[in-house]
Every structure is written in C-alpha cells, then in structure tokens.
C-alpha cells in the first residue's frame, strides 16, 4: 500500500465507506448500491419537493451526511473528487420524487454541472419536474469569461440546510429553488490550506507546500489556490480571507450574517475556534452582526489541513429556515 490511509483498496473506498455510513445511520438513511446513492429512510415523501445533491466523494460529511428530515432527500457520491455519472443521479431523483418535483443542488464544476444536466434531461423525459441550483460562492476564483465560473464550496451546506427546511415546510418547487438561489446569491466563501491532501488512487499529495507557506484561495479538491504566501498568525490569515468576501457582496454595517468557519478535514478544532474568534471580532469592527454561526468540518478535502470562511447575509426567512429542525447524520437540531 503506497498511501497512508485507513482503507482496504483505493477502488473500494467509496463503496465501503458508504456501506459503513448506512450501517451507522440506519435510523435516518438507507442506500441503494447499483447505482450507488444515499436516500432518506422515508423517501419519497408524498407532496414534498425532493432535494438531491451529490458530487465527488472526499468532502464528507457533504453530501450524504445531510440526508434526513429538513435537509436533503438523497445524496449521490461520485468517486473521490469525481462527479457522479447521470445514472445514480437519475435513480436518486426518481427515488425522492414525491410528486412535487425535485431540486438538484449542484456545485459549480464542469463535471458536476454536465452530469446533473444529463440526469435532469433523462428525469424530465420520465415526467419528473426537475430544477437545478448551481452554487458558486467561492470568491477565490474570478467569475469571468475566462474561467469556468466561481466554484461551489462551503456555501453549499447552507443552501442545502435552508432549502431543505423550505421543502420540509411544504414550499413548492419554485419556492424552494428561489430560496436556494437566494442563499447562494448571498453567500461568499474563501479557503486556505496548510497541507495538501492525497487522493487514494493518486497516491501522491495534490500539491506541495514548504514548511513556512500556506495556500490562499484553495478549492476543495486540493486544487492549488490563488496564491502561495508565507505563513502568518491566524488573525492575519483571517483578515486576508475576509477582505475579498466583504468586498464581493458587499456586506455592510447593520447586516446580520451567518458566520461559518469550516475545517478542511485535518485541522484541529482549537484552530477553527481561534479563526472564528478573529472573524467575529473583525465583523464586529465592521458593524456586522453575527446572528448565527457554524464551526466544524462540514465540507472537507479528505485530510487537508486548512479552513474556509463563509459569510451569508441573512434575511428573516433565512433565519427561520436555518433554525428549523434538522435530523441528519451530520447536522441536527430542533425537535
């Protein structure tokens, strides 16, 4: 074995992991294996808009960890860092269709967009109404003619939670899609990494960094980021990440926000809270009120050390939907 991981066979990583996940969370989810997807134990919920997300594996708990009451109806895991093919997306879409249509939540990567598109076409041909929301909250990438557009990163978790609550309370497909779009439009993220990650089948780290460097603007696939900088204190890093976020929307004094500090997988919690502390302090300096928060490993890059900051500008409806009960393997509150 050339890679130092707790695995049996690089080719069976996703299958075995999803199997373990299903065993551990049999109260909330079940899985199908051919093609593979994870679905709410009680799917389809009649009359409820179904929510399906998915993408490459390696970002756990995203997406399977968010399947359950008040969030996703199904999650479709691809190979590590590889978007799933249309087959399981289509199968999941059918499995969660309760007659009110299905929303696809897709992170903006060429592969994800294309495979979900194909699945949506096939589902439509089967008479299922499908809409897609493509998340693109990453300010590290310039959204221009010269790129594939901004990437969907940690904001996706917030879209899934809030749109999930919208669907759970009985909103129509148009309404759920509208809320999802609104959350995405009001979310901005920026990531950094201290260390790379290693895809099991690749056997080598995604990039190399010197002992005194960090990568600013990292994606969630170990893609190199915006620039490589000399390591600096946590507060300085946070300030550097916050600046383009605050510029981009722009957030302004009097705004209420959700502050989300996300670990990339290998960062200890002590460090995430040190970053949270400075981010909250800096926002207070800008007169921005942190009304809700989330800190932890919610969308990861395997064992990468690093974190991302996400700011979501809240309105009253978003707050209500954020607070609504959620019962999933990775996010639970209320009820």
């Amino acid at each position: 074995m050339s890679v130092k991981k707790i695995i049996n066979d690089p080719k069976r990583v996703v299958d075995e992991s999803v199997a373990g996940f299903a065993l551990a969370h049999a109260d909330l989810v079940r899985i199908e294996t051919d093609p593979i997807f994870v679905v709410r134990a009680d799917a389809p919920v009649a009359g409820k808009v179904g929510l399906v997300s998915g993408g490459g594996s390696g970002h756990e708990p995203l997406h399977a960890g968010y399947v359950g009451h008040g969030m996703l109806d199904a999650a479709v895991p691809g190979a590590v860092f590889t978007s799933p093919t249309p087959d399981p997306i289509l199968a999941a879409t059918k499995a969660v269709d309760g007659g009110a249509g299905v929303l696809h939540i897709v992170k903006n990567y060429t592969g994800d967009v294309l495979n979900f598109e194909t699945a949506a076409d096939l589902a439509a041909a089967d008479g299922i109404e499908v809409r897609a929301v493509v998340t693109n909250d990453d300010v590290a990438v310039k959204d221009s003619l010269y790129t594939a557009g901004r990437r969907g990163v940690a904001g996706t978790v917030l879209v899934e939670k809030i749109a999930g609550a919208s669907a759970q309370r009985g909103d129509t497909l148009d309404e759920v899609a509208g809320i999802a779009e609104r959350v995405n439009a009001n979310a901005r993220s920026m990531g950094m990494a201290l260390t790379p990650c290693t895809v099991p089948h690749a056997g080598e780290p995604s990039f190399t960094l010197a002992d005194d460097e960090y990568e600013l603007g990292i994606g969630i696939h170990g893609e190199p980021g915006r620039e490589r900088l000399p390591l600096e204190p946590a507060d300085a890093i946070v300030d550097r990440m916050l600046a383009p976020i605050l510029e981009d929307l722009p957030f302004s004094s009097g705004d209420r926000v959700l502050l989300f500090v996300n670990g990339m997988g290998g960062t200890p919690q002590v460090e995430l809270y040190i970053a949270y502390r400075r981010a909250a302090e800096a926002l207070a300096e800008h007169g921005i009120e942190v009304a809700r928060s989330l800190v932890g490993n919610y969308i990861t890059s395997l064992e990468m050390q690093g974190f991302s900051l996400t700011l979501l500008k809240l309105d009253d409806e978003m707050v209500e939907l954020w607070d609504a009960p959620v019962q999933t393997p990775a996010l639970r509150w209320g009820r």
């Binding site: 190979a79 590889t82 978007s83 010269y146 594939a148 994606g219 170990g222 893609e223």
Partner: protein
C-alpha cells in the same frame, strides 16, 4: 497500411486499443491532471474504458460501427463521471449518430464521424479553440482528417493524420492559459502544463489510427 473501409471489427479494435493506451498512460494522465486539475483524469478514463472492455462480449455478430460507438458512449457516460465522462460520452454518441447504421465507413464517413464527435464536445462544454481543453486536440484532428479525406486518402490515412494532428494539438496546449474546466481556476498558473483531456484525446485518436492500420 490497410486501405479499405472500416467495419465493426475496427471499432471493436479501437475500443481495445483505447483501453490499453488509457491503462498504460493512467499515471501520466493523473499527474497532468494533478498539476492543473484534481488528479483523477487517468483514473476516471481507465475505469470507463475498462467497463467498455467488459461489455464487448455483448456486441452482436451483426453489429455496425455505430452500435459499437453507441456502446462506448453509454458506458462512458455511466462510468466515467467528472467533466470527461459527459464530454467523451457525447462525442461518441454524436459519432454513432453520424455513422448511422452503415456497416462500413469510407474516408468521408470517418472524417464526418470525427467532426460530429468534436461538435458534440463543443455543444456540451462550450469551449473554443485555445481554451486549453480537449478541443485543442480534436479541432486540428478534424481539420486534418477533412483535408486527407478531401485529397482521396484511405480511412486509415485519414485517422493517422487526425492522430498526428491531435498529438501536436495536445502538445500545443502547454503554453496556453486555461479558460474552461478546473484548470481555469489557476489562471496564469495553468501555463506551462499540458492539458490532460487534450492528451487523452490524442491517445484515443492514436488508438483509432492504429486499429485502422491493422484492419
């Protein structure tokens, strides 16, 4: 070099050679993709063509080249994933449609097949020449094939010219700045690396030409 039209045997041999070349260059394609992408291109294609290989037994004795191309298309779509899955899948699907139910493909049909495949990739991915994608291998290949067919070359000669042009096209992606796909996130930092999809396209077209040469 064989000169006649190409039948289903050629298409099947193309698949076998594709699977072999992808397996042989798996690590190289992973490495290219790790440098400016996410390091899965070689793994994904290897999985996909491995799956196609496993389905060749199901090809009927009276199958046409179009049947084989369609099998490749649907198998790649359902096993590769990522960007390359739908892009290559669409390419083979359009190629299959282009050749219809012909049992034998002449030079013009071969050139048209390549053009249809390329157009399929563009239709899905919206890339233009110079965006540092697989299109930069396919478009020179399509043009070379059309020129060869136009001057009366054999199907094998058409494919050989296409393969040469694709290889040159893949190499020529090195100085480019990516504007589509994952590599586009790197902006200027994508310069100096060869596009993995262009490289795999060149290998696949070389496999087509080699199969034709022995047909």
């Amino acid at each position: 070099m064989a000169g006649g039209p190409l039948g289903a045997d050629w298409a099947v041999d193309w698949v076998r050679r594709s699977a072999a070349t992808v397996a042989e260059h798996r690590v190289e394609l992973i490495t290219l993709d790790r440098e400016i992408g996410d390091g899965d291109h070689g793994e994904n294609l290897d999985r996909g063509f491995g799956a196609v290989l496993g389905k060749l037994d199901s090809v009927a004795p009276d199958a046409t080249p179009g049947d084989v191309l369609k099998l490749v298309a649907t198998t790649l779509i359902s096993t590769v994933g990522g960007a390359a899955g739908p892009l290559y899948g669409t390419a083979y699907l359009r190629a299959a449609t282009s050749v219809g139910s012909e049992a034998e493909l002449d030079s013009a049909a071969v050139a048209k097949l390549l053009e249809a495949a390329r157009d399929g990739i563009v239709a899905r991915g919206k890339a233009e020449s110079g965006d540092k994608t697989m299109i930069d291998a396919w478009t020179p290949a399509v043009e070379a094939a059309a020129a060869e067919a136009g001057r009366g070359a054999s199907p094998a000669e058409v494919l050989a010219a296409a393969a040469d042009a694709a290889a040159a096209g893949a190499e020529a992606t090195e100085p480019l700045v990516a504007r589509k796909g994952r590599a586009s996130y790197l902006g200027e930092r994508s310069r100096g690396h060869r596009d993995p999809g262009a490289q795999s396209s060149a290998y696949l077209l070389r496999a087509a030409a080699d199969a034709a040469a022995e047909a």
